[in-house]
């Protein structure tokens, strides 16, 4: 039924992450986890999938001694999200 919808985005958590990232300039892992109400493990796996597809860029640094993961949506990710929303509109019509 949903063959035109990008399978990578057609998943609740990944879609939530991309929707959040499209609304901000950059976000830390902890902020995404809090907003999506997901577990660290699950979020980490889904971010890796989005990163492998080139939809999200992930920067791993340190704040003091703590690891810091900052995520940003890429141009490819923005395009994929726009296409996804446009496909969604066609289904709703």
């Amino acid at each position: 039924m949903f063959k035109d919808l990008d399978p990578l985005l057609h998943s609740q958590l990944r879609l939530a992450v991309v929707s959040l990232l499209i609304s901000v300039d950059s976000a830390e892992f902890t902020w995404l986890r809090e907003k999506t109400n997901s577990t660290a493990g699950n979020l980490s796996v889904q971010l890796d999938k989005l990163s492998e597809a080139g939809y999200v860029s992930i920067e791993k640094t340190f704040r003091g001694k703590r690891p810091l993961t900052t995520c940003k949506i890429t141009r490819k990710g923005v395009k994929a999200f726009e296409d996804y929303v446009n496909s969604l509109k066609d289904y709703i019509k």
Binding site: S26, W31, L88
Partner: protein, 189 residues
């Protein structure tokens, strides 16, 4: 939140709208900078005015050295805030760069003030209107938009008075356009 469940179009839209809603309202208000710089500029200008008017101090303009202290405080505060914040919105970025650009422009005028007959106060007061008004628009905060408009009017008026009075009027403009809206912004945070 689960991962692989099949979403209906409506569910997908619900996820998108609820997440966009979640991301809204994360713009930092930063009343601290308005209060810090408002007080700094007001005190410096008022100090220079009082010294020019009532004392024989050789170089009253040294009062402006307190801006260096505020610049250092701003940098330290900015670094600390940056460490605390877990998200940066597009508005935060615009906000930051509008003020940085304004700071760079002010710096050029301070360095080459002699080239414009030391008419720095009216020029900077007029320029202050731009970032202040834009900040008001970005934050949807009317007192700052009002402050921006008052800066434009003040800039024009300050051009018309003598150098000594310029310091007094600049000080009043800064109280009205930075300190009062800054305090109101702090209360709204």
């Amino acid at each position: 939140m689960s991962t692989e469940n099949q979403l209906s179009p409506k569910q997908s839209l619900d996820v998108i709208t609820s997440m966009i809603q979640q991301a809204k309202g994360n713009t930092q208000k930063n009343s601290f900078y308005f209060l810090l710089w408002g007080c700094t500029i007001a005190v410096a200008n008022l100090g220079v005015y009082i010294m020019l008017k009532f004392t024989q101090v050789e170089n009253p303009y040294n009062m402006f050295l307190i801006t260096l202290v505020s610049a250092a405080v701003s940098i330290v505060y900015g670094i600390r805030q940056n460490k605390k914040s877990t998200v940066s919105t597009h508005l935060d970025e615009i906000y930051k760069w509008v003020w940085m650009s304004f700071g760079a422009t002010c710096f050029i005028f301070w360095i080459f003030g002699g080239k414009v007959g030391w008419q720095i106060n009216p020029i900077i007061t007029t320029l202050c209107a731009i970032p202040t008004f834009i900040s008001g628009v970005l934050l949807k905060f009317k007192p700052l938009m009002f402050g921006g408009i008052v800066f434009w009017v003040s800039g024009a008026v300050i051009f018309l008075v003598d150098i000594e009075t310029q310091f007094l009027l600049t000080s009043i403009a800064v109280i009205v356009c930075y300190i009062i809206p800054g305090y109101m912004l702090k209360r709204s945070e």
